[in-house]
Amino acid sequence: MATMPASASDLLKSFKLKTKQQELLIRVSILCLVYILAFITRLFSVLRYESMIHEFDPYFNYRTTLYLTENGFYDFWNWFDYESWYPLGRIVGGTLYPGLMVTAVLIYRILRFLRFAVHIREVCVLTAPFFASNTTLVAYFFGKEIWDSGAGLVAAILIAICPGYISRSVAGSYDNEGVAIFALLFTFYVFVKAVNTGSLAWSLASAFGYFYMVSAWGGYVFIINLIPLYVLVLLITGRYSMRLYVAYNCMYILGMLLAMQIRFVGFQHVQSGEHMAAMGVFFLMQVFYFLDWVKHMLSDTKLFQAFLRITVTCAVAVGGIALGLGMVSGYISPWTGRFYSLLDPTYAKDHIPIIASVSEHQPTAWSSFMFDFHILLFLFPAGLYFCFKRLSDATIFIVMYGLTSMYFAGVMVRLILVATPAVCLISAIAVSATVKNLTVLLRSKNKVVQTGSTKGSGGSKSSSKALLDQSQPFQKNGAIALLFGAFYLLSRYATHCTWVTSEAYSSPSIVLAARGAHGNRVIFDDYREAYFWLRQNTPQDAKVMSWWDYGYQITAMGNRTVIVDNNTWNNTHIATVGRAMSSYEDEAIEIIRSLDVDYVLVVFGGVTGYSSDDINKFLWMVRIGGGVFPVIKEPDYLVNGEYRVDKGAAPKMLNCLMYKLCYYRFGEMLTEYGKPPGYDRARGVEIGNKDVKLEHLEEAFTTSNWIVRIYRVKPPNNRW
């Protein structure tokens, strides 16, 4: 024991943090803030509207999650759903990725165990923001792994508010992507870590990350192709190492075995064309290892060269023959349409109209790149430059991830999501490296004045110092200006992200909001009005026919059986519905009766000016129907290649079932002041057929703004 004053000063000293501790404290607090920010920026929709599930697919996920909470895992796994795809039904347990539902239920159970009396809906609504927060942490560690902790922090901040990611992870968008992006980035991070360290533990972790990804989203195919490609690139560039061997083999074998446990994926890892690259690279690794061993054993290089040639030729030949045999015998299935459409963007348009009809499968426009990435779009090439300047196993990975995912993002709008983490990470490298260089420039100048050059700093530092010595005053001002410029850009980015989140990505699309005449907010809650009406006032076993877009919502909110839904697994069935909608009423009623339909539901925006209604989607119904039933021909519905609903419309258009159902008694309706009755506000024309008569169907319900119209199928007349 020392004297009193000494111990007191010791105490004071122990309270004062060391620089390293200060740095840790700042880093942890920034991470905590980013974690919170990522969560709360996604709550716009909850504050604007309410805690509800958005869009279409999330309703299916929500319904299955409810089923899982109520009936337990085994019932869920063996669930045969009679309520969709009537009369076929759907084996739900075998045709979905259960990761999301299981995660939500797990969170729900934990919260319940901790006595938080939450409803499963709240858990579902907040799952995506929660995982987005977790993604920021992974991004930090990933950035730290490939560059340094500064880049990690910047990456965490960028990804926390990047609109490309927010678009799929706002509160309420309870979709597979919400957890899958976390799983994707986690798998990549852990794999890179495994490659860097050669540790079996990290490799095992990446296998589990991959398993989680497989259980959560069909996008796992991207991982199972990117990682082999990366390994191949490393092999070609002569970066083969024992670390890579351990990391890849363990990850591939365990990941594959684990992935087979998911029923929907099954044996695809050994049977489908999309997964063959991974297997090929796996065997290539063994050949490499073998060659390495032989090289080690043989001292004669000439002999080894000859051996190498023979082995490589044999290996390639054996691989090619195996693949060919597999393809011919049908053991290995060819690539699916979706995969083809990724490689060839025009493929879907010509061959699979059902994929082409989905708006999020369209090729990406430049504006949406700008909208979703903003400054990241030009920080990305800068980041690539920095990566190339400091090539390592990790930076090669992120470069490859960035480039491939950028390509896919260009092919399909929805794949911007996959590119977002890479773009954020690479941009973060650019930002971090630039800012670091600039601040080093600013700070080391003083040091130069005071102490001269300091040894031991990085190469970039010393080079900047060399520059600094030549033209000091100009350099300093320039650095300050550049720093301000960078901060200005970043603050613009933050503003843009917040604006995009609040304006574009936070509307649930179930509830529509518009500005009224006096600037007040008008809410159109017609979808739920109709679905709730179905739920309460139709027989329990009623079958509802609608276009497939609304299938999930009708089953989840209306609790009624549907003919087709958003799981577009049976093209013929959808085409049958398309055919019914585009036939004359007396032809359609045959199809409707054969499908045992009780109610027909259409979405109509003519009164409110809501443009994504069934009339505007109608040509896709014709195309998809015509793809299977050649009776339906697209030109019959067009006039000189033009699609119209007014007096000049094609006669078949004016009398098809969809037209009749949408415009039934609409001719009497005054929608807009100063316009004739029957003025369609969504298309801005007066309709062509105002005297719509229905023979076999009758109006059962129309919502208050006419957005959803439900018709009852009349029973056949008595024969006497």
């Binding site: 006595r115 009396a117 179930i510 509830v511 809650d525 009406w533 309460q536 006032n537 319900f701 129309t702």
Partner: protein, 467 residues
């Protein structure tokens, strides 16, 4: 206030037992009704019957019980029976409520059911008194035709007797029936009877012996929506931090003539008076004053069509279902609101606390077929007991809410067939130690403390195996 009632009850009980032993059956014969007037109000779907009886004791012994009899079909729909007697003279009259209880009599003709009114003071021989009886009938108007189209108006049958069913001789009686509109399709004539405007008058009839019955059938237009709550679960959760949270789950149905065929939105929007006249467009709920955080939602989310009006004495919540309810259509929804605790929670002199809250359904003009009131007491409260002004079924449950360890005691009360007059207060008494209020904050605080301790420990302990 409590004491006089007790005394009266005790007095009544003594008298009752005395009378029961002396003149059990004779009390029926000794009374007669010198004048009876009945007013039946059919303007809503709840039938309100006001009966004014002038009862005279013609026997020799004083009696304090008067029997009311009802046909068995009416008893099933009888929601409430109240009896009042006027006291005082002329301007200073006050109405005093009397006890009414269902009774069984052994020699009831045609399964007639009885209610006994216990008079406060026994009626001496030769004396007479005037009783005001009010009873409400639910589900007593039968739609005919049972199915109507959107543009048709709703016609209903009402069945009753032109003569008041009574175990006593009635010297003179008159019945007035008020219909909601002048549109009356038909009514049974029992001379003298006539109709003027919205009123049908039966009587006056003179000197009818006990159990006289003359069935009548009235067929008239009633376009008031038949709002029936098939099931209502009200949960009142007490938090001693100052809030009373009420959650009400409704299953609402339009019990009028069933909707048939087409629902046309054009017609409904353009001609609202002619189309869907009997449809249920909105409901009014009367909530206590100082209500806050009101919500109105259903299984699939918030329903945006509701308005709240508050003033210092009451709050009114106007709610529209998602769609107008036609006959046979259903809607389920939840209303929730918070109330300041000090308005409803009080302390008794013996350190017990009690909640004083309304029992029935806050919606106006609705019938509730089955009501469950659940009072969730705070965690750690003991000895709950409920005092309700009418008979209810009671039991206890346990509920787990946020951060509960042992669970909260729930007092559950169930009652069938309720009308708005059941909106009287009930009390739930319990004991609670304020120290329990701190349990949950302390738990949270210690959890965070442990978390930070774990963080500190993690940062200071080197767990690596290799050095």
């Amino acid at each position: 206030m409590d004491a006089p009632i007790r005394a009266r009850e005790a007095l009544g009980f003594i008298l009752f037992s005395l009378l029961f032993s002396i003149c059990r059956s004779s009390s029926l014969n000794h009374l007669l009704i010198s004048n009876a007037e009945r007013r039946i109000d059919l303007s809503s779907h709840i039938v309100k019957v006001y009966l004014t009886l002038k009862v005279e004791n013609a026997g020799s012994t004083p009696t304090s019980e008067v029997f009311l009899s009802f046909p068995p079909t009416q008893v099933d729909h009888l929601a409430t029976v109240e009896a009042l007697v006027t006291k005082g003279k002329r301007k200073k009259t006050t109405l005093v409520r009397l006890d009414v209880k269902p009774t069984e009599l052994p020699d009831a003709p045609n399964d007639a059911k009885y209610f006994t009114i216990y008079l406060a003071n026994p009626l001496k021989s030769g004396e007479s008194t005037t009783l005001e009886v009010l009873y409400l009938l639910t589900h007593s108007q039968e739609p005919f035709p049972a199915e109507i189209a959107q543009s048709e108006s709703q016609l209903v049958y009402y069945r009753d007797s032109a003569l008041i069913l009574s175990p006593y001789h009635i010297k003179q009686q008159t019945t007035f029936i008020k219909t909601p509109s002048t549109k009356v399709e038909s009514f049974t004539r029992v001379e003298p009877s006539n109709r003027a405007g919205t009123e049908i008058k039966y009587g006056p009839y003179e000197d009818h012996p006990p159990y006289s019955f003359s069935p009548i059938l009235i067929h008239f237009e009633n376009n008031s929506p038949f709002a029936v709550v098939e099931e209502l679960v009200r949960e009142v959760e007490i938090s001693h931090w100052g809030n009373l949270q009420v959650t009400e789950q409704y299953t609402l149905v339009h019990a009028g003539a069933r909707h048939k065929g087409v629902f046309s939105r054009v017609d409904f929007q353009s001609r609202p008076t002619l189309n869907g006249a009997s449809s249920l467009r909105y409901l009014l709920a009367r909530l206590p004053p100082r209500v806050h955080s009101v919500y109105y939602r259903d299984e699939i989310g918030n329903i945006s069509s509701s308005h709240l009006r508050t003033d210092s004495r009451k709050s009114e919540l106007e709610i529209e279902p998602r769609y107008p309810l036609f006959g046979g259509w259903k809607a389920t929804f939840v209303i929730g609101y918070g109330l300041p605790l000090q308005d409803f929670l009080f302390e008794t002199s013996d350190d017990r606390r009690y909640l004083n809250f309304t029992f029935g359904c806050p919606l106006l003009e609705t019938v509730v077929d089955k009501l469950t009131v659940k009072v969730v007491l705070p965690e750690g409260s003991k000895d709950p007991s409920a005092v309700v002004p009418f008979p209810v079924e009671q039991h206890l449950e346990t509920k787990y809410s946020y951060l509960d360890v042992v669970g909260r005691t729930v007092v559950v009360m169930e009652k069938k067939n309720l009308v708005p007059t059941h909106n009287s207060h009930f009390q739930v008494y319990y004991t609670f130690k304020p120290i329990f209020m701190l349990a949950e904050p302390l738990m949270l605080a210690s959890a965070f403390f442990l978390f930070f301790v774990a963080c500190v420990a993690y940062l200071h302990i080197d767990l690596s195996i290799r050095k």
